[in-house]
Symmetry: D2
Subunit: 330 residues, 4 copies
């Protein structure tokens, strides 16, 4: 039984609290949040205690810490929790700065506790199924990867300004997915982008629509498409062409109902956004973390993986500015 | 916060325990099972106590009882829990005997506590969505309902012998679905069936494949198809033709991956069986029960509904014997 | 090169004319119609001659006759063309009277020329694919067949009155499909029906919505659903459950476009009616006829098949009146 | 009635011959081919004459010429037929040389006869439906276009060497599709590619897998993916994201049958290659040509369109060599 301290009682913190409570091998001990009321409400729903961050990190009755706070606190909290000997599951991204993320990696590695980064999409059964099928040789050698990743609506421009930009904030998930599936870093990254959805996003120095092409040393190619706005919902698809076939993972839909009338056939939209689409993935992610820690095995998504995704985001941002492909190295 | 006693720590009891623990407004207090070890294991995973049935039913710190024991105990436990003033959620069917179910309805009605029957499929978002769309007038007036309901594999013949037969054990869900969607009882029930899947099932006096046709006083027609064996998984679909269109609810699939190779395109099977397919439905059912009780509203599936489904099962069983349509009345 | 005389220049006659002209092994020589202008127009589009029925049937430069005239002329024209030594492809049904159809079969059999009945659905690649997959053993032994067959809109009541009724006019296609797939005649036929779409159809002595259940001597079951009105188009599906799986043939859709917007995902309706849905089937049917005649092989749909489908229609009509299952024999 | 001379009796010539014969407003008069036997065979199947190219082009009883010969003859034959006053439908591409194509455009424009280029995909109802829906405003303003276009298998390397390369030979269709849907030329073209399918293709100086990104002056982006090998068949899809939604045109499948067994659900592959997939498109293309000429309206795909697609192919080829985006101008 893993005893858990949860840092962050916001939207994603509540998702994690439910998974911690439902899992037969984990138990929620304490919740912390800068909003004390939110921490208390969430704690009471699951018969846990509210506490401040230090108390949680230093609580000897807590085995593992789940970090679901704002991005700018991630590196620090990872380092502190690791030093306190806690196992850590931290939401993505590690940091907006590649340098700071590398420093966190160096510091945390010394502590030697398990540290997992919450790239939740790796636990989506559809995407992990692509990886498994590829590994089994179902489509022979991979050749061309295509990732479609559209959000339902852009965040406020005020958020865009502090987000680190589309590549670090949004496409970072897709960079991790490319790294996960391809099992290697690309050689070059070429980005095009525009602020065709909202010129205010352009005025804030960011793009809202982008296509990034990745080339690999062995001739493989990947392409990632992002848009901040798909009014029909969260569009999350992966396709991988190989020498013996194609693997394709589609959207998870709200339901299976279709309605056929004189004006056409209507069916479900994709699940609206990440909380809906990745509900099962968050539970699977939590299960993977609990099992890894309990069984003393390596976590399935490392802090190193978090740094690698950030390196691709930085290369893409550079390419967008220069108009030319960037090379990648960590 | 609803404090819950769980009767039955078997397969379906464990599903309910998880939902009770994950729900922010319910709390698992005690678990009972004739297998004391099973009760203890399940209780400890959720920091609850193991206790015997009487202790649970009479525990003043318990507000509601969830009955997930074997069918032959349902009527008795409903009556006892109701008398003890507990709200009740009981798994289907109420009983194998229509007479006993009617007696239970009479007895329990006097107690006046909320009693809900676990026809979980009503909480499947696909099937409930059919009902909602129909109610909104999306397809005009309903005319022809078609229910496909196949199990992945037949149970052991030893179970068949005590099951009450296909109509009471398996098709009862579909009879409830017909009652739920049509909002009325049929006028006639005509059944055909055979034991083409396994002659041993025929030797035990039951059928494993059946088609039942229902006619309604206003000209509507429904048809239910059952098979004990669909080797590809649990096949659960509903179609409703109306004056302005068709509503169709399909299977929930294991994943959204498709694999295209030289030999064809392969995609996911339906979720294997009821625990997988109706995972979300069980959670929604539990949420509906908790909200109804907490808010003092009528439960969405009544003991009366349980009796009505049983009445259709009895009519179908009679039709199979006589070779002619049976009439229905409660 | 097969030289063809076409009897009937109406809607379906024009479809056949196009297939005759496009086929590299057939050549349209003459067209006949009671509407002489229609015959001339169609003939001139394909550089053929217009002529009267006798001239076509007796033309020594014509090898085969395609009968696409009204139902009441079919038996006579089959007999006359057969006597004249022509190969014959005749549209369904053979006749509305089972007795007359049997007499036609007896008379035409003596002539010994190839006579094929235009049960076009057997040439739909989806339905024929079901038969082929079944024959290859893809789903083991067949157990439960389900046919959905809805027209987009009812014909005028004036037509209903002379149509022979839903079972002989519309469901006859589905009876033939059941005979085709099951490879045997059923033992019993049970029909329910109502005129819920249009009470005027009921007043004319017919039904517009019907479900027919067929049982076979070896325990197999089939169910056919018909409605005269599916406002979304021509709904034509077949499902066959077997010991090793399910074969399912869906609708052919107008296109493959889907549109995802904030209000849902919209996709294509089924092809509107039989001319659209079975466009490819008519071409395949024609090709099968040409090849059979040219190569001296048996035609794939015999006059006997036409009589068998009519026998099921008569049994269903009787069951609807009696309220009980009818037995079938030819 | 349009009287037609067909130049080329190869694979695609035979498709056109069938469409000419089946169309009620066109009539096949003569067929020419460097293989005289092929011309005779095809002519006799449709009661036409075989003749040499000059005889066809100069035949006063011929109104229009369909050019289905090898690519290196297109420019010359277009010019000669135009000079002879014939309407022309010519298979794509106009030429492998952008300069030669421009010269052909200049020469043929003087003749003033209708000249249409056979970009057949514009007549695929799925892709033309995307254009129509966009024009009706179904998804608001277009933002991001994605074209997937994979062949089932690479041609022989001997063909690759004379093909003009992947961009001029294969992706030219997709460049035309981008021009068709976007209604404008892109500003920049960036290409990546590799010969991961077959190193021999690389040794011949070509690529077999490529991703091309197009940017437009107003911020729109398009991406085209090509592979010479998709072992599951001809993969032809288009997706267009707009401010109000997504339009998506999928593959046309071989049939609608699905087979569900214990090992998964199997369904149809895409139609194998262009003759199967675009069978309906070729017929619609022919109908559009016949109607345009008969009614004196402008043809829907002009020689100018043929030149524009070639200009994009040249820009992509340049980008692949330089590693940087190319600009586009005609």
């Amino acid at each position: 039984m893993l005893r858990i301290g949860l840092l962050g009682a916001g939207r994603i913190g509540r998702v994690h609290a439910t998974n911690i409570a439902a899992h037969p091998k984990s138990f929620l001990v304490a919740v912390s949040d800068i909003n004390v009321g939110a921490a208390k409400d969430l704690a009471s729903a699951y018969h846990a205690d509210a506490a401040d961050v230090d108390a949680v990190i230093n609580n000897p009755d807590i085995d593992a810490v789940l970090i679901a706070t704002s991005t700018d606190t991630h590196s620090d909290l990872i380092e502190r929790a690791a030093k306190a000997g806690k196992a850590v599951l931290c939401e993505k991204p590690v940091d907006l700065s590649l340098e700071r993320a590398k420093a966190c990696l160096a510091a945390a590695s010394q502590a030697g506790t398990p540290i997992m980064i919450g790239f939740n999409r790796r636990f989506d059964p559809n995407f992990s199924g692509i990886k498994i099928a590829l590994s089994k040789g179902d489509i022979g050698k991979p050749e061309l990867l295509s990732i479609t990743s559209f959000d339902p609506a852009p965040p406020p421009v005020s958020y865009i300004k502090v987000s680190g930009g589309l590549f670090r904030d949004m496409m970072i998930h897709d960079f991790d997915m490319a790294n996960f599936i391809m099992g290697d870093l690309p050689k070059t990254v070429h980005a095009v982008g525009s602020s065709i959805v909202d010129p205010e996003i352009g005025a804030a120095g960011d793009v809202d629509t982008a296509v990034v092409t990745l080339t690999y040393a062995d001739g493989r190619i990947a392409v990632i498409k992002n848009s901040r706005r798909a009014v029909y919902g969260y569009d999350q698809r992966v396709e991988l062409l190989g020498s013996d076939g194609l693997l394709s993972a589609g959207n998870v839909l709200e339901h299976t109902i279709s309605k056929s009338t004189a004006s056409g056939v209507t069916s479900a939209k994709p699940e609206f956004f990440f909380l809906e689409r990745y509900m099962r993935a968050y539970a699977a992610e939590w299960d993977a973390f609990v099992r890894s820690v309990e069984e003393g095995r390596a976590v399935p998504v490392t802090l190193q993986d978090g740094v690698a995704a950030l390196a691709l985001a930085e290369a893409a941002a550079n390419s967008l500015v220069s108009g030319r492909p960037s090379s990648v190295s960590i």
